[in-house]
């Protein structure tokens, strides 16, 4: 049973707006791996009992949860990739282009040199004493490595650290937060984690007691949230972003969904806001954020602020403001708002997904709750040290005057300006397609175009037992090698279809992608136009 709140009949009548419903993906479009062995689920057994670990005996929450980003379409892509590897002309394309996942370095984005220099030196500190090292590494990377190693007891980067992360690194991160926001940050509020995702899981674990506990999530959303809520046995309470207003977030919509769920006996515990948005890419206006803060304060909700794309803003008219900064600027402190801010090393201009580095900054909770958060963190001992070091570098990069500053700045600006160009190019390309509208990607790494699928196409999808957007994405893949994720994996207004495409393929590949996509779309519409 999916755990989503569905608008009650009463509210359908009362409301002037159409009541939206979280779209339930059809089973075939949800994540199911195609196993290579026959689908006999239990090993042959002389006993009539099911084995302990079998589909019908494992935790049902595991079966329920879904994660489309690495779902069915990706498996098909991998299969096609293998076919091309053995027979290069097996398909009408030379390579698979993975536009399904925010994984910049897998598509050719280079890491920031300074960061990698420091990490390499921390991995192998023995060479810091050697004169040859001066010739291979920049002076300030050597200096930074020394500084970091001095913050680690015994300079032992292979030892478990404090369960919140190395104190000196948290000091650096806190200073970085303060420099960003203009308001102080406490290193004791910071919990370093293996990426932002485990931190999200931790908070869901703390907040969710039963299916009666609800978490407000944006629709469309990054499906970590729906998956985590399902795994922890809670209820996702959807609030709909408004596609017509650039995926705007209206507090009135928050209020409506809150009231509806409360009337159904759900205790809403927290509000998830993804800013900049994923998959939607909108950057919230400061006024909007103030209203959200006010709402959480009034309603006693924990604000879970996913801010992993804070360095990905592509439009001059918008700026990233952290929710911490916004709430502090409103005069709200620890007593007023419970806020958890998530940051990661995976996105921005650094794109270090494989390192699994990130943190949550936890403010506005009592000491006894913080003790519990610490306790849960301690069971896993600590997050990986290299990721911790990287998080501190991301929050405290080279400054003006540092030897590496110019090259660092050039690398950073090169990546960010290229991302902005690609965002625009792809947005324009999508908007030119028949029946497709695409909101601007103000930030993050994705475009989320909406396709008006003809009735004939929808019928063809149904015949194949696929959601229409999944059907479109599969046809796109087999014709062009381009992998995108169907909108049903993120949630959308029922009867609308989208897909999420990253802006990450290298710039020189973009024209070819646009051409292939445009050609495919035209022939698809030719085939299915009514």
């Amino acid at each position: 049973m999916r755990r989503f709140v569905i608008g009650s009949a009463r509210s359908l009548i009362e409301r002037s707006r159409q009541n939206y419903q979280f779209q339930r993906p059809l089973l075939s479009s949800s994540y199911r791996l195609l196993s290579s062995t026959p689908a006999v689920d239990s090993p042959s057994s002389s006993s009539t009992m099911s084995p302990p670990v079998a589909l019908n005996t494992i935790n049902p929450k595991v079966i329920e949860c879904e994660y489309a980003v690495r779902g069915e379409i990706v498996n098909l892509a991998q299969k096609l990739q293998e076919e091309i590897n053995t027979k290069p002309d097996a398909h009408p394309f030379e390579e698979i282009l993975y536009c399904n996942i925010g994984n910049p370095q897998s598509l050719g984005q280079h890491p920031i040199t300074f960061f990698r220099e420091v990490l390499a030196l921390c991995d192998h500190p023995t060479i810091l004493d050697k004169s040859e090292t001066q010739g291979l590494f920049s002076a300030d990377s050597i200096e930074r490595a020394w500084k970091i190693l001095d913050q680690i007891p015994g300079r032992a980067t292979g030892a478990y650290s404090h369960s919140q992360g190395i104190k000196g690194l948290r000091d650096t991160i806190a200073a970085g937060i303060e420099a960003r926001d203009g308001f102080p940050a406490d290193p004791n509020d910071i919990f370093l984690t293996d990426g932002a995702s485990p931190a999200v899981h931790m908070m869901m674990q703390l907040l969710i007691r039963s299916e009666k506990d609800g978490i407000l999530c944006p629709i469309p959303q990054y499906p970590l949230y729906s998956a985590s809520i399902a795994l922890h046995g809670g209820t996702l309470v959807p609030y709909y972003l408004d596609e017509a207003t650039g995926w705007g977030l209206e507090v009135s919509e928050l209020k409506k969904q809150l009231e509806t769920s409360r009337s159904m006996g759900i205790t809403v515990r927290a509000l998830v806001v993804i800013n900049p948005g994923n998959p939607t890419g909108q950057v919230l206006a400061e006024e909007n954020q103030k209203a959200i803060v006010e709402f959480c304060k009034q309603e006693g909700l924990v604000l879970l602020a996913d801010e992993v794309y804070q360095e990905n803003v592509y439009v001059p008219e918008k700026k990233f403001h952290s929710f911490k900064k916004v709430s502090r600027s409103m005069g709200y402190g620890e007593k007023d708002l419970s806020l958890v801010s998530f940051q990661s090393v995976s996105k921005g201009y650094y794109g270090e997904c494989g390192k699994r580095g990130g943190y949550m900054e936890v403010t506005g909770f009592g000491a006894d709750v913080r003790e519990q958060i610490y306790k849960v963190a301690s069971v896993n001992l600590c997050s990986n040290i290299s990721g911790q070091i990287l998080a501190s570098l991301v929050m405290s990069p080279p400054k003006v005057g540092d030897e590496s500053y110019e090259s660092y700045g050039a690398e950073r600006d090169g990546i960010l300006s290229s991302l902005a160009r690609r965002a625009k190019t792809l947005e324009d390309a999508f908007n030119k397609l028949e029946g497709v509208t695409c909101n601007k990607a103000e930030g993050a790494m994705y475009l989320f175009p909406r396709i008006d699928l003809p009735e004939k196409a929808i019928k063809a999808a149904e015949a194949e037992k696929k959601a229409p957007d999944a059907y479109y994405c599969q046809r796109l893949l087999t014709a062009t090698g381009i992998v995108v994720v169907p909108g049903s994996g993120f949630g959308q207004v029922p009867g609308t279809w989208h897909f999420r495409c990253t802006i990450l393929p290298q710039e020189e590949k973009i024209p070819a992608i646009v051409t292939r996509l445009t050609d495919f779309h035209k022939s698809f519409m030719d085939e299915f136009r009514g």
Binding site: P60, L224, G300, N380
Partner: protein, 477 residues
């Protein structure tokens, strides 16, 4: 707004139930004292590098090169790195489309999982399927993932040894399941008696619990005992009869300090037993880069290998892995290097062997020093550390000491350990953190302090202990 959004009362009950003594009261008190300037010897967690063990050179060279691949283009790189490290770095980088900074396959890089499978095959003599090997951010995350898969609710029980490493009790609490204890026999060197297992299962079933899985930690933590082949056969037969999935925590498989019972993997024994059992008993085996002689705890690298888990269930487990996207890539490379180390003839081979042997032989010596040291203390009895990294002496507290503990509002072994900490700076974990028979007290310490520091540590302990016993027995030594 009145009440806080998330207060202690409204927290998930399962979280509140969790206990993890390894970083609990004793550790927190030790950290406080350290801040006040007291010299603390942290023996609370198996964290070799924190106590001076040096990382092995070769893996650090390789991973550093993988972190900064531009070094490989520099003509002077050979001045700092040996040729085989350079070649190894290139090989691992070729396995990672996008280098260390890209999410890998959610199960881990295929090339490394293949190396793990080959390692398992060399070790056990049976082939292993890379598709059934999932790399994780440390073995702990793998354990949590599997237990979360198995436990449906309070009615599901997991057999766990007592004493146990409290990851198991903590995770079972978090998942809302029931821990079904089976007692290891201290008088038989922490041996496992199948009759104890049967009793525990019967008791659990009588209480309405469905027993689903059995955990073995081999070599044991905190107890260090190494299971014999006969013992493993008994356990596998038992799991077969009772329809339990066996969870084999084998993270200490490199840490063996006696020759009578070398490490044998649960999988090898299972395969040796032949059909039908070898095709029916479900098994998940765990390993890590944190222990052994590598001790690379901070990297967070581990794996689990599944045996006889149905394909569609493997898919579900894969799905859960995919939500976390991928395990960290540097640690995956550490894992590859661990299972596929330098070979005879490689430039770095001799150094690798020298460093490894040095660590293992020293651990063996320290296991003996500590066991003997504890056994020389009044009212202390200590089984030999056959394997792993810990010593788990039994402290026979006099009745007066137990009373004093009660008056102080503390569990007796916590009382003792706190006093030990204040007097000597030695930070241990009380036996109650691992489970023990009622009225029997222990503490866990590691055998990891540097060999040259051991004599002083043991004499410092002896002085404290014997004075403590004198004080509470009222009899002069």
């Amino acid at each position: 707004m009145g009440m806080k959004a998330l207060d202690h009362e409204s927290l998930n009950e399962n979280v509140k139930k969790v206990q993890y003594a390894v970083r609990g009261e004793l550790y927190l008190r030790a950290s406080e004292l350290q801040k006040e300037g007291k010299k603390i010897i942290f023996t609370n967690v198996g964290n070799p590098h924190a106590l001076g063990q040096r990382p092995l050179t070769f893996p650090r060279q390789v991973v550093a090169l993988c972190q900064a691949p531009f070094l490989l283009d520099d003509p002077n790189v050979g001045l700092l790195f040996p040729a085989d490290a350079i070649a190894s770095a290139k090989r691992y980088l070729s396995m990672t489309p996008g280098g260390l900074g890209a999410y890998s396959d959610s199960r881990g890089l295929p090339g490394i999982r293949k190396e793990v499978a080959e390692f398992i095959e060399r070790r056990d003599g049976y082939s292993s399927d890379p598709e059934l090997i999932f790399l994780t951010d440390g073995a702990s995350k793998g354990v949590m993932q599997i237990l979360n898969c198995i436990i449906r609710g309070q009615g599901d029980g997991v057999l766990v040894p007592v004493p146990q490493y409290p990851l198991y009790s903590a995770t079972i609490s978090l998942c809302g399941g029931s821990l079904v204890p089976y007692y290891l026999d201290e008088s038989a060197n922490w041996g496992l008696d199948v009759n104890n297992l049967r009793e525990s299962v019967a008791q659990a079933r009588f209480n309405g619990i469905t027993v689903r899985a059995m955990v073995i930690i081999n070599p044991g933590n905190p107890t260090g005992q190494c299971l014999s082949e006969a013992n493993l056969r008994e356990i596998l037969n038992f799991c077969h009869q009772e329809n339990l999935v066996l969870l084999g925590d084998e993270v200490y498989q490199q840490n063996i300090y006696q020759d009578e019972r070398p490490f044998i993997s649960a999988r090898k024994v299972l395969m040796d037993m032949g059909q039908p059992i070898s095709k029916e008993v479900q098994l998940v085996s765990f390993h890590t880069v944190s222990k052994g002689y590598w001790g690379e705890c901070g990297q967070r690298g581990g794996y689990f290998e599944m045996t006889n888990i149905p394909p569609q269930t493997v898919d579900e487990i894969y799905k859960i892995s995919s939500i976390s996207l991928s395990p960290n890539v540097p640690a995956q490379i550490f894992m590859g290097l661990m299972v596929n180390p330098p070979k005879p003839g490689d430039i770095s081979y001799e150094q690798y062997v020298r460093e490894s042997k040095g660590i293992l032989e020293s651990l063996r010596r320290r296991a003996r020093i500590m066991t003997d040291g504890f056994n020389s203390c009044k009212n202390v009895v200590c089984n030999f550390t056959e394997g792993a990294m810990y010593s788990f002496p039994q402290i026979r507290l006099p009745p007066k000491a137990i009373e004093a503990a009660k008056d102080a509002g503390k569990v007796p072994d916590i009382f003792y350990c706190l006093k030990l900490l204040e007097a000597t700076g030695i930070s241990t974990v009380p036996g109650s953190g691992f489970g023990q028979k009622e009225g029997v007290f222990h503490l866990r310490t590691t055998i990891l302090p540097a060999e040259e520091d051991m004599p002083e540590i043991m004499s410092s302990f002896k002085k404290f202990n014997d004075e403590f016993m004198e004080q509470y027995e009222g009899v002069k030594m």
